[in-house]
Amino acid sequence: MNKATFYGAGFPYRDFGKLSGKLIVLEGADGVGRSTQVKMLRRWLEDEGYAVSDTGLTRSELTSAGLEAAKSGHTLGPITMSLFYAADFADRLENLIIPALQAGFVVLSDRYFYSAVARDSLRGVNRVWAKELYGIALKPDLILYMKASIPSLVSRLIHGRGLNYWEAGMDLHIADNFYDSFVQYQAMILEQFDIMAEEYNFITVNADQNPEKIFEDLKKPILELLHNRLTKGKKPK
């Protein structure tokens, strides 16, 4: 399909040539059910005959050890934390995501850098700085934003893996208990996502529905994207 386009300068020392695959990003709050949807989408796309690759946040071999150590010690300042995540992101983008796209894969990314910008700006990091840092990021073909209300997030988490320190934003010291902190923190995150939904053209999907219904809503724009490619490919010269 098209030449790689980036939000900023990208990787000027490398020419990636044409990327024949598609980059599809799933964004949304903690506990919204992203990983379940990624699994379902992957199975569906593979049934349709597409080669699929999925990639999550904080998975790069380069930085995962350092990031985990830092998280358990709480010693990193907000700018340092932000850069650590960016290094991890850059590593995965350059060494995993882009090569997969070159090879024609549909890449399902469980989150991208948008959540990082949201998280960082709530911790006093300059928002413009964080956005420009991610000038290295490839523009996805599709950004699907699973938007859920706070009550449904709370219910899902409490009946699922429980509330955790980081997802509740306890490090911000906005409340003295996990529940109140989670509610306030996620409301602030939602606000950030709403701003970015416009900035980056997210396709918003109502994630208050049951998983099957969400899945159907996610499939529609994906079908449209992939169908466009098929018809384009068949066009006579």
Binding site: L76, I79, F84, A87
Partner: protein
């Protein structure tokens, strides 16, 4: 693109290619300032404990790309910035840095990252009160390094750029590119150029004259027992201990 120094402290940095003699000069300056009774803190490039474990592994595996190399060095800098350099400047300390953001602007751009992107990445940092650039011709610097050291390291020699299969040749080509970037920054950031071919003593005389001017009327943080400052990140030290068990 660096912020103005709005702290009570003074920030003095030395820059230059490998073998320019800057570390010798800042060491002499450090001892002189300490002896004069100032509160002084010294910070070295690429020295944060938490980041080191990551960079060490990646260097060993030679898995850096120019971008990850660049971001991780900024992470290292940010860790030192947030935990020691900035709070100490706020307190009125004279902070000396052996290499600063300009090292990244020179090296990372020589590696091919976008000059504006890397400058913006470091924009949380302050423009130093003195940025001393020790300039030596390429041949002299290369001779100093290759003569003094048994072998060059992979990234230090810029082997990742594929400039040459010969490590000494690659080092020379890479340092040449870096030197070129430094020279461009003299005007851009107003770096103070010091002739690194002069004798150590002559250079130090010039350095002290420059710093004296900067310190006219400077009070700074009192240093009652004339002791040096060291910042220990307690948690990081603990983590390191635990890891080595």
């Amino acid at each position: 693109m660096l912020r103005k120094n709005d702290t009570k402290g003074k920030l003095i940095v030395v820059e230059g290619i490998d073998g320019s003699g800057k570390s010798t000069q800042i060491d002499l300056l450090y001892k002189w300032l300490l002896g004069a009774g100032y509160s002084v803190y010294f910070s070295e490039w690429n020295s944060s404990v938490l980041v080191k474990s990551t960079t060490r592994a990646a260097k060993k595996a030679q898995s850096f790309t120019p971008t990850t190399f660049s971001i991780l060095h900024c992470t290292d800098f940010a860790d030192r910035w947030e935990n020691s350099i900035y709070p100490l400047l706020k307190a009125g300390v004279i902070v000396l840095a052996d290499r600063y953001a300009f090292t990244a602007f020179a090296r990372d751009v020589a590696r091919g990252v976008d000059p504006e992107w890397v400058r913006k990445m470091y924009s949380f940092a302050i423009m130093p009160d003195a940025a001393l650039y020790f300039r030596v011709p390429l041949d002299i610097a290369v001779e100093r390094i290759t003569g003094a050291r048994a072998s060059l390291k992979y990234y230090e020699a810029g082997m990742d750029l594929g400039l040459s299969d010969n490590i000494n040749e690659s080092f020379k080509l890479f340092q040449g590119k870096i030197l070129n970037e430094y020279d461009k920054m003299v005007d851009e950031f107003g770096l103070t150029m010091i002739d690194g071919t002069k004798s150590v003593k002559e250079q130090q005389k010039k350095v002290r004259a420059i710093i004296k001017k900067i310190l006219v009327g400077f009070e700074g943080l009192p240093n009652p027992n004339k002791s040096p400052i060291s910042v220990t990140n307690i948690q990081a030290a603990k983590a390191k201990k635990g890891g080595s068990k």
